[in-house]
């Protein structure tokens, strides 16, 4: 696990202050910190939904600005807090990404539903007839349809009840392992961070205050800021 898939060097914007760190292939990284720390802002830099004002970001040793934006976004998939499904059926949503570049294979629909543990009968269901948890599964399936190498997750379970959140977590855990994805996840839930992550980045006031194994960070925090955050 030595090859850096993402490399941030001196990245600065309105919130983030000179961030430098690497993300390695197959890592499960948890980005956590208080509200307004810049977690989502940082996440959106990975797939260029935002650009930094200063600094350099590399994806597989090439500046991300050298990639075709649409191709980069297909490789670096994103799952948002809300499912944000498009009107229509489950199938319409699953095929959205691949169809944009004419790569949709109808046989993939069944496979994608299996990944997110939904029955095949759901394929032609209208998305507004699904529960919150089911919608988030479809959203995850829609992201996976592009066969991403990196999966970005912006608090994907925060709008769900505890039980549904746990089910989504299980789906995620399995998918990340089976597909050998690199995962970067924003969460405010420290228990979730511990369950799903290996490495933690504690972000506060636009700076990374701690970067370590998540379990170590939560049991032996080195900074006062992290200690206070854990206690809160």
């Amino acid at each position: 696990m030595t090859q850096a898939i993402f490399s941030f060097k001196g990245v600065t914007d309105d919130i983030l202050n000179h961030l430098s760190f690497n993300i390695y292939k197959n890592e499960k990284v948890m980005l956590f910190g208080p509200s307004g720390a810049g977690k989502s802002s940082l996440l959106f830099l990975f797939n260029r939904l935002r650009d930094p004002k200063e600094g350099k970001i590399e994806f597989k040793d090439r500046p991300i600005t050298e990639y075709d934006i649409s191709n980069l976004r297909r490789k670096v998939g994103l799952l948002l807090q809300s499912p944000n499904l498009f009107p229509g059926t489950v199938l319409d949503n699953l095929k959205y990404g691949p169809s944009l570049c004419g790569e949709w294979n109808p046989a993939d629909a069944k496979k994608l539903l299996e990944y997110v543990q939904l029955p095949e009968s759901y394929l032609n269901r209208k998305v507004d007839q699904l529960s919150g948890g089911e919608q988030q599964r479809v959203s995850l399936g829609r992201t996976l349809a592009n066969s991403p190498e990196v999966l970005l997750l912006d608090e994907p379970t925060s709008a769900l009840d505890y039980r549904t959140a746990e089910e989504i977590e299980e789906v995620l855990e399995e998918l990340v392992d089976v597909h050998q994805l690199t995962m970067v996840m924003v969460t405010h839930d420290l228990r979730q961070a511990k369950r799903l992550g290996e490495r933690g980045l504690f972000l506060m006031d636009g700076e990374i205050k701690e970067d370590d194994q998540i379990k170590t960070m939560l049991t032996e925090p080195k900074t006062e800021e992290l200690k206070d955050f854990i206690q809160d």
Partner: protein, 262 residues
């Protein structure tokens, strides 16, 4: 019978102002001043326009028509751009849109002998086209802005799946155009059944045969229908791209829209 509204009869119109004024007073709506001011302003505006039209109708059509149509287009542009002030180039886009719509409709009218190139025919009919197009553009702009705000999550999701701005905005463009066209379709469906259109009523009151009045009304109603559709389409297709920057990123704040648009 020559239609005639005497000055004395006009004075009695004050009753029609007293009704909303009484309501406002009784229910303390705080609109008394607005009601009186809008009634006076509307009356003065109409009389001034009446005298201007009398003057324009006597002018050479090649001077009177371009002059008045240009004034109407500029005023309509200034009014409609208020609905999208934060968007770059909105004035130029609306101006170009209104010129295109009015130019196309006028060309068709003249090409098919629907009207004659006389100020008394072109100016009132153009006014209806420009006025309705102005409203359609303003509504489309407002609708588009609210759709972009309400659907920012979906747009981010679409962009993150590799969609280009035109692909990501497809849903918004559809919704905006739907909202602009549905009232017009409904209006056409009930035309003459729920209310007699203004132009037709005016012609009938002016002594024109109802069938002839209907022919004119059809020309203007279908022209308005077409120009409203064209205006909504024009403004939507021209402006959606300003909600993104050159790196296919969604711009959400007014400041971003002003400074980073494509």
């Amino acid at each position: 019978m020559e239609p005639e509204v005497s000055n004395q009869s006009l004075l009695f119109l004050i009753v029609f102002v007293l009704v909303p004024l009484t309501l406002s007073y009784y229910y303390q709506l705080g609109m008394n001043k607005d009601i009186v001011w809008s009634a006076i302003r509307g009356t003065v505006q109409l009389f001034v326009v009446g005298y201007i039209l009398t003057f324009l109708f006597d002018l050479n059509p090649f001077i009177g028509i371009p002059l008045m149509v240009s004034i109407m287009i500029v005023i309509a542009t200034l009014h409609a751009r208020n609905k999208g002030k934060e968007l770059p180039n909105v004035f130029a886009v609306i101006l170009l849109g209104l010129i295109t719509v009015e130019g196309s409709v006028l060309a068709l009218w003249l090409a098919f002998d629907m009207i004659e190139f006389r100020p008394s025919e072109v100016i009132p009919m153009s006014g209806m086209i420009i006025g309705n197009s102005m409203v359609a553009m303003g509504l489309a702009l407002e609708r588009m802005k609210s759709e972009f705000t309400e659907n920012s999550g979906r747009l981010m999701a679409a962009l993150s799946l590799g969609a280009k701005p035109n692909q990501a905005s497809h849903l918004i463009i559809t919704k905006t155009l739907n909202a602009a066209l549905i009232p017009n379709v409904d209006r056409l469906k009930t035309i003459g059944l729920v209310q007699l259109p203004g132009m037709m009523t005016g012609l009938i009151l002016g002594g024109v045969e109802p069938v002839m009045a209907i022919k004119y009304q059809l020309v203007i109603s279908l022209s308005i229908f077409s120009s409203v559709s064209l205006s909504a389409m024009f403004i939507t297709m021209a402006m959606y791209r300003y909600f993104f920057n050159k790196n296919d990123q969604l711009l959400e704040s007014e400041e971003e829209l002003r400074t980073q648009s494509k």
